[in-house]
Subunit: 156 residues, 2 copies
DNA sequence: ACGAAATGGTTTTAATCAAAACTATTTTAT
DNA sequence: ATAAAATAGTTTTGATTAAAACCATTTCGT
């Protein structure tokens, strides 16, 4: 890797690809009068009897501070409801309302179809290559982050 | 591709990888008391005599509505300045101030080093594979978007 | 048994995102 | 020459991002 080159182009492509894909996915979800994070919550809760807030945060990649607001707006739309957990006074269970479940069952298959069109000309191997390459980079980030934290501790 | 599977896992990995990488990059840029979009503007302007606002938007992937605010905050920090274009009354030229240029020259090489650590164990081929896979998906999105726009026109 | 530490979720904060509407200017069509 | 269309950048809007601080509750250590 030539350390004097400009910003690594492959990372620029990662950002472009991410933005491009999100824009494509949003163009479908906007028709449901939902945002991508809102729809992500719905499809994560869909097909379940409910889920703890913490688990929902883990599955959707929405940080907990942000998730409170996303869930509130879905409550306002009558699509999601909260219930206190019986086991842990701090905890809450989230689940789709009847309207939320109807929307999920009606729209999720077509959304899946919409997303899967992207791969209509891909072989299984090509999809696997992309996935593997992405996981590889995630791992590289984890390794570098771990090293950075150690560097900070040593500097104290 | 099994159309009844859950959200395509490879796309979930794209989102995770993007988020993970941005978080890693931000951890370095935050030390400069800048945000990633602000730093992106600085490194895009760095090494140039100035750039038109429109061009800056194209190179940084920040939409023009958002770019106004990002640039304003950099002006407030004394790192960027604007000048009216002599050729086009609508247009503006943006450039780094002396302080902005100093910051760029001081920090860009170390940021590049910080980012390039991610690839310290990659071969050229592995980097190329990732880049190619990402470009392939971008193209797939473009193709699907083009088809969607055509679908909308026909529906009118 | 009790205090300390950790955890689950909320609130606060500053910044960003992205699209639509707007204003001023330039370019295009007639 | 003039009106219509397009463009460059700003403003507005509602939502999200992400981190830090906070409060209430649970878990851990002594």
């Amino acid at each position: 890797m030539n350390t004097t080159s400009t910003f690594p182009t492959v990372l620029r492509e990662l950002l472009r690809t991410n933005q491009s894909f999100l824009s494509y996915a949003a163009s479908h979800v906007n028709k449901l009068d939902l945002t991508l994070p809102q729809f992500d919550v719905i499809i994560t809760l869909g097909g379940t009897a409910g889920m703890q807030y913490k688990k929902l945060g883990e599955k959707t990649l929405i940080t907990k501070g942000t998730l409170t607001g996303v869930v509130s707006r879905l409550e306002d739309k009558g699509l999601v409801e909260r219930a206190a957990s019986k086991k842990d006074g701090r905890s809450q269970i989230l689940r789709l309302t009847e309207a939320g479940n109807d929307l999920f069952e009606r729209t999720f298959p077509e959304h899946l179809e919409f997303i899967n069109r992207l791969f209509s000309n891909y072989s299984e191997e090509e999809i696997a290559t992309l996935g593997t390459a992405l996981l590889r980079l995630q791992k590289a980030v984890s390794v570098c982050r771990g090293n950075e934290i150690i560097d900070e501790v040593i500097d104290e």
